[in-house]
């Protein structure tokens, strides 16, 4: 179980959406990152209101997947976004 809240992104991060996929730009680091469809879905839920468990539950419901089966991938994606500075630690 994880009660840690995910997000919100720093104010320096800008998100653009093209055909459902999100691209991120961080003004402070001047880095850009293109997210695939799954990572984009995680990003949209990383609003600082939801916990990691809630994000996983919502994704499992949306994609008709087992929460346990997607947990590792969601955790990895969140960790990558944090490590790249697009989400707060």
């Amino acid at each position: 179980m994880s009660a840690r809240r995910i997000g919100p992104p720093p104010e320096s991060v800008r998100a653009l959406e093209v055909d459902g996929d999100i691209s991120l730009y961080d003004r402070s680091s001047q880095r850009a990152l293109m997210l695939n469809g799954t990572a984009s879905a995680i990003w949209r839920l990383a609003d600082g209101e939801r916990t990691l468990d809630e994000v996983i539950a919502e994704l499992a419901s949306s994609y008709h997947a087992d929460a346990g089966a997607i947990r590792t991938d969601v955790e990895r994606t969140v960790r990558d976004l944090v490590d790249a500075g697009f989400l707060p630690a």
């Binding site: 653009l16 093209v18 691209s23 730009y25 003004r27 001047q30 293109m34």
Partner: protein
């Protein structure tokens, strides 16, 4: 004793005054005619051709002008081949060796107008495409493929003007209508299929020379253009078979 008058050039807004021997300047003037400047304004002084064969001197001049102008240009410049028809451009961002110049040459043979075999120069404000018609740099292999004379002995490439390929220059700013991602493969049939807009935006940023000058604007512009243009992926087999597919995008 006085030499021939210097050659004055304006390349993507950077000015050069080139002096040298008669043969080198005459060839440079022929190849670089679209960049000729007659306003007499000062520019970087260059002297070319000392102690080297004319073909090599011209090659070094063109390489220097290209590198210098692209480092100074006030636009989002992307490593790409670009051709056009009726004010609309198709660009294929790709690294060196991906087949840009050969595909551009084949497209000119297929009736498209020349924009550049080197850089897609996008206006920072509105994304308009500014032509950069440097002479095409065509490899010996590509010259053979296209049925045109090859490089001089000792040279790997030959500069080719659009005239030699019976093509016209695009001279006015263009709108970017199509973005094509190249997959170069040997022994396959040329095939064009849709790509995603995000792939197109990524290609523009990955191949940009100048995004570092205005990184956030480059990010915006790449996504704006990827959203406005049609994104494609081209399996590039024989460029002569691929060129009609690109020409067909305009029909």
């Amino acid at each position: 004793m006085t030499g021939p008058p210097p050659l004055r050039l304006s390349v993507l807004g950077t000015r050069f005054v080139v002096s040298g021997g008669q043969e080198v300047l005459a060839e440079a003037a022929r190849l670089l005619a679209p960049f000729g400047s007659s306003d007499g304004l000062a520019g970087t002084d260059l002297h070319v051709g000392r102690g080297m064969p004319p073909a090599q001197a011209v090659a070094e001049l063109v390489a220097y002008l290209n590198a210098t102008a692209l480092s100074k240009v006030d636009s989002l410049a992307v490593h790409a081949g670009v051709v056009a028809r009726d004010g609309r451009a198709v660009a294929f961002p790709a690294p060196s060796g991906a087949g840009k110049s050969t595909l551009v040459a084949a497209c000119l043979r297929a009736g498209l107008a020349y924009v550049s075999d080197e850089a897609l120069c996008l206006d920072w404000a509105d994304g308009a495409v500014h032509p950069y018609p440097r002479p095409l740099s065509v490899s010996a292999w590509a010259c053979t493929l296209l049925g045109i004379p090859g490089p001089e002995p000792g040279m790997l490439e030959r500069f080719v003007t659009p005239d030699e390929l019976s093509a016209k220059l695009a001279t006015e700013p263009l709108s970017l209508a199509h973005l094509v991602l190249l997959d170069r493969q040997q022994g396959v049939s040329a095939e064009l299929r849709p790509a995603t807009r995000q792939e197109a935006a990524a290609a523009l940023l990955e191949r940009s020379f100048t995004h570092w000058k205005r990184p956030e604007r480059a990010f915006e512009l790449a996504h704006h253009l990827a959203g406005a243009a049609q994104p494609w992926r081209l399996t590039l087999g024989d460029p002569r078979a691929a060129a009609p597919l690109l020409a067909g995008l305009f029909t």
